[in-house]
Amino acid sequence: MQPTQDEVLTQHLTREYEWGFEAELEQELAPKGLNEEIIEFIWSKKNEPPFMLDFRLRAFRAWKEMKEPHWLNGRYDPIDYQNAYYYAAPKSVSENRPKSLDEVDPEIRRIFDRLGIPLHEQEILAGVAVDAVLDSVSVATTYKERLAQMGILFCSMSEALENYPDLVKKYLGTVVPYNDNFFAALNSAVFSDGSFVYVPKGVRCPLELSTYFRINARNTGQFERTLIIADEGAYVSYLEGCTAPKRSEHQLHAAVVELVALPNSYIKYSTVQNWYPGDKEGRGGVFNFVTKRGIAQENAKISWTQVETGSAITWKYPSVILKGDNSVGEFYSVAVTNNHQQADTGTKMIHIGKNTRSRIVSKGISAGKSNNTYRGLVQVSPRADNARNFSQCDSLLIGSDCGAHTFPYVEVKNPTAIVEHEATTSKIGEDILFYCNQRGIPTQEAVELIINGYCQEVLAHLPLEFAVEARKLLAISLEGSVG
């Protein structure tokens, strides 16, 4: 007997997380807990310039006064911030940062090889430069020299603080202030590493820049900080990917990403988020509480594309402040939730300049007992004449135990603005599946095909090298999950 459609679907839904392995690495850890000494420890461990201690401490003090927010459409238990490590680094990196790719600890290399991220400058990702971040530290960056020849700086945040402190000082915290919100303040206090990009005036970055984040250590939060600056007329496409081992306890990932798009520049930022989502009963999984924001100056463009398949909870709103006249903001999102996952994600488009334009395309896919919320804000300030926004928010439900919600907030203070919103909710219908089956396409494959079609408009915005990966991920997170 062939398995029934439901059985195929269930099989799919119960598929294991493939990236859940754990590697034994010798760790250097900060003492458990969070206080001013720990922050000083991180600061001195990382050999940072003095202004950073000030930045971190101010953030920490602000954070202490803040309350952990719980307004997301979902729930999580209060986090015990004193029962975690805020600095974890593989010893081989912590004691002596590798100067070149050849010096990377083979054990670390193996971790990234297993994840399909080879730390070599080689064919597989020939058009892509990679910064690999393991727990709190960057372990390798490829193609650095080639980029440097064009004046492009691509390195870990630690190296940037060491080598270009003035650039970092000038822009750090200008898009996401140290006291922006609870998790951003925490990040500002304890962030350990992340990627730094600077593309000089008029330069078009010829490679895709990418950071691959991996949590390995136990009981650590990951707090990475990414700062991307596109100088006037510059262009850069950047992508982040991430995975974590399977663990029965939750892990906090509170990152901050700041994008600075100077006049006439274009920053394209893509995310393929695949943190461990937790098991079928909702045990474990990463809390992905992230603040991402960009400021677009005159004629500049910022485009966010995200494919969110992992994490127990995803809570983030990559946003664009359209400060300069004629600036453009885009947000393309696919958020998939399955089992007990929760996603509350969307974007904010803040129109300040004249003739600013924004476009939002959000595709939520919910299966299992999961909850998927789109929350977005389109704000048009009084002086933003002729601002335009178009939003499309679609939800796809798989099965009958999941939820999809849409909260599109609109605040328009300028009468010349045009704001359009469309929303749909649909199910993968049996009729479509039968149609595919009749043509010879098995249910499993049919679901992949349908999901891919549904997300096509978003996936089309991913860099080609990663679109394939993203499609596979979507398939794996959802294959056959139709009831």
Partner: protein, 248 residues
């Protein structure tokens, strides 16, 4: 090729097919006509294996194999093709992607390697020309924004691509203007072959002027109540179903 004996089938516990018997040989074209609600589409759905259509009695042999043992996709791999009365839209999935998946699934079932892109495109373009479809149609999402007539033509196009043994056309002619009807009929006639059989479900005599059937059946209340030659279609057109509803 296809042998249906005393077929009884229910939907949601309600009997729709009530002892249907039909014998189709390779190379033949059969027309099935009958009033609305007679069970024609139900027959097509049962043959294709749609979930929710329960066979309570009787048997269906397809090339000697028990068709009811096969999953819908296996029936497709075995050579059964249904041109739907109401083809669905698949947003964001191009005809190329869709037929690539379908063809490769057929090939995998036969133990063959997937088609490479050049072979696939050559095949799709050749068949698109047969249906007088603009090649740009291949890049459009399956049936999305297609007019009724375009959908029907797209069904026949897919049939031509998948090269099935047994084709069921469920009211492919309704909603077609005369030009489109001619294109579809020409394509079907071009694909008539000694090894292939067609079942044409229709309300109208019109399509049978272009595709000449070997046998015409009248289906009423879940049974074949009358069978005859092509002239039967003409009589139906003149007299309506009424005289045939009591079995002769």
């Amino acid at each position: 090729m296809l042998s249906i004996r005393n077929l009884h089938a229910s939907v949601e516990g309600r009997p729709i097919l009530k002892g249907l018997t039909l014998e189709v040989k390779a190379g033949e074209v059969h027309a099935i006509m009958g009033p609305n609600g007679a069970g024609k589409s139900t027959l097509a759905a049962v043959l294709a294996g749609k979930e929710g259509y329960e066979v309570t009695e009787g048997e269906i042999l397809f090339e000697g194999q028990n068709l009811l043992d096969l999953e819908p996709e296996e029936r497709s791999h075995a050579g059964l093709f249904l041109a739907f009365q109401y083809p669905v839209e698949i947003p964001g999935v191009s005809m190329i992607q869709f037929l690539r998946a379908a063809l490769n699934a057929h090939r995998a079932a036969q133990g063959a390697e997937p088609l490479d892109t050049a072979e696939l495109m050559a095949l799709l373009k050749e068949k698109a020309a047969l249906l007088k479809l603009d090649p740009s149609f291949l890049s459009r999402s399956v049936n999305e924004g297609f007019s009724g007539g375009e959908r029907k033509r797209a069904e026949i196009f897919q049939m031509a691509v998948l090269d099935p043994k047994l084709v069921i056309l469920d009211e492919t002619d309704s909603g077609l203007d005369i030009d489109a009807l001619k294109i579809v009929s020409d394509a079907v006639n071009a694909l008539r072959a000694p090894k292939r059989a067609f079942i044409i479900i229709t309300h109208y005599h019109r399509i049978l002027q272009y595709i000449r059937p070997d046998v015409v059946h009248i289906l009423a209340d879940g049974r074949v109540v009358h069978s005859g030659g092509p002239e039967l279609a003409l009589q139906l057109e003149e007299k309506g179903y009424e005289p045939f509803l009591t079995p002769a």
